[in-house]
Symmetry: C2
Subunit: 333 residues, 2 copies
């Protein structure tokens, strides 16, 4: 690593974070099951495929319109299992609680977490709490680890992606990022936008038996643009997105215009990006649009030969979407 | 809960922490697999018993004689699997990294973690990093979740414990607690004491096929006295410990005498407390004493009718060991 100290950019989902993970964590923890490019790892098990994933949460504020760090901790991890084609079964929960946190707030968060888990049908079966001294934590950090099962038939992955495949997104992008930003009130902005924080399991299950389904991922830190970069990196193919096709809610676009954010880099917490063979793209779209959380789903671009992530703008121009380097919004998830 | 805000006492392994866990977390996350009195939960699985556990780590300083938060994060979680009678297979790793942490220090910690994992034969197959802003973290917090397997034959648990059973400890108590305290240098004390931070897997495997093995636990936060309270709580039986039999290293006792700590409440990170039937106690002791980490093992007390944890002192008196309430050493594990 070139840097000598950790900066916030090491946490943003972009290039610095990739370097931190690959050049420190993955290098030393090297084993054949550890693949840092996956959302969830499939482990060998005698008679079933066991899928295993983990995620940490440090969102600030702890509660926001549409959810809290509690439901986020359930959705973030179970969504990683879902996009890997698995059905979530069990969760573990770690809580790092800062001295002085209001127990009333903590209880609301745990209830929000418990309700999210119950709705998905996943059980929190192991947990641990640590209390850290005042000033040594940001109120509450959570980490959840998920276990799920998947059938052997479903093979999804970067290696299935081919030039000509189509990209779909299940709904509008950037809602979670802007909603958390508004909840911080630091810009004096108000709005009735809610986070998209939700389980994507109905969305991933809807595509589960679709022949021609290549890959699914939930765009969280770094947003849609970062998922496109991850696909491009892993496949050595390019991505061409159609700006006019990408669903963005007007209030999200308005806040982005005011503050200079690009919604394509903002976190979602309840969306799926899917790559499918061109001949099943319309079928996949119809399957999603039939679901309550998929009514705004769209075909947004395609996989092409090349190595760039390019946005075809509404005016007919082209813009290269660079890999994320700076930190747009710390503590977003 | 009676309290309105989190205090450090909610993290100390004693009564307040038990209230926090039972009256907030367990109450809302209620499901039939969640048992907060266990180190690791055994989950139903088609053909093998899957054992699942999680632990968070916030030790300060991050490095100390005999280990670091890295090896601690491996041993803490795999030891919970080991005392549940399981063989650890896989780990997930969450890192909450504070902006400004030295990457050199982080790399040493990850190497320490990787070496500990390799030695035990457990693979870190999933991970996540979050970077939190300067002043919102204590340098580094880690959480690990472990997966292991166990054979159906081995049934261990509080419900196996009977009056008359003997208690064994695998080595000296309080080394980790005092070692971390010395590493903080806040008392100007120095010593060559190293933490007992280590895998207990050889110790638990040695007793694995012993008929009459009832229960095993690693005494971490809250120490030996807290394990005795957990046993007493769950079984509604008493524990009688023989002070003269409990192995305590002279430097640990000396620091405790100077600062007013009780070594029976200090954390270990590589010891096991086992409860065995009286007629196999000597055999269990011999099995442990034959191992490199078990040479100081001892039979330290017995399960009795009653409801107290009592220490029979070297002078022939008796002292009731109360349940831990205040925080002896924050950020010890």
């Amino acid at each position: 690593m070139q840097d000598s100290h950790i900066s916030l950019a090491h946490g943003n989902g972009g290039r610095y974070m990739r370097e931190l993970i690959n050049e420190l964590f993955a290098k030393h923890l090297n084993n054949k099951q550890l693949d840092t490019s996956l959302d969830a790892v499939t482990l060998p098990w005698p008679h079933e495929l066991l899928v295993f994933t983990t995620d940490g949460f440090s969102v600030q504020p702890l509660e926001f319109a549409g959810g809290s760090i509690g439901s986020l901790a359930v959705h973030g991890t179970t969504n990683d299992l879902a996009v890997a084609g698995a059905t979530p079964l069990y969760l573990s929960l770690n809580a790092f609680i800062e001295e002085g946190l209001s127990i009333e707030v903590l209880e609301r968060i745990i209830i929000d977490l418990a309700e999210a888990a119950q709705k998905i049908g996943v059980a929190v079966v192991a947990g641990d709490t640590k209390v850290v001294p005042r000033g040594q934590g940001g109120g509450l950090y959570l980490a959840t680890t998920g276990l799920g099962v998947k059938t052997r038939a479903l093979s999804l992955g970067f290696d299935q992606i081919q030039a000509g495949d189509q990209l779909l997104v299940s709904g509008s992008v950037g809602d979670h990022g802007i909603c958390v930003l508004l909840a911080r009130e630091q810009f004096g902005l108000q709005g009735d936008l809610a986070s998209d924080c939700a389980s994507v399991l109905p969305l991933t299950q809807a595509l589960g038996s679709l022949r021609g389904l290549r890959f699914m991922r939930d765009p969280t830190r770094g947003g849609l643009a970062t998922v496109c970069h991850e696909i491009s990196h892993a496949t050595r193919l390019g991505i061409r997105l159609q700006q006019s096709a990408i669903p963005i809610k007007p209030p999200v676009q308005a806040v982005c215009d005011m503050l200079g954010y690009d919604p394509l880099y903002l976190a979602c917490e309840g969306r799926v990006v899917a790559v499918v063979a061109a001949d099943v793209a319309e079928q996949a779209l119809a399957l999603w649009q039939a679901l309550p959380h998929g009514d705004a789903a769209a075909i947004i671009g395609e996989v092409v030969c090349g190595s760039c992530v390019v946005l075809q703008t509404e005016l007919g121009g082209e813009r290269i979407l660079e890999e994320l380097e700076d930190e747009p919004l710390p503590r977003i998830c």
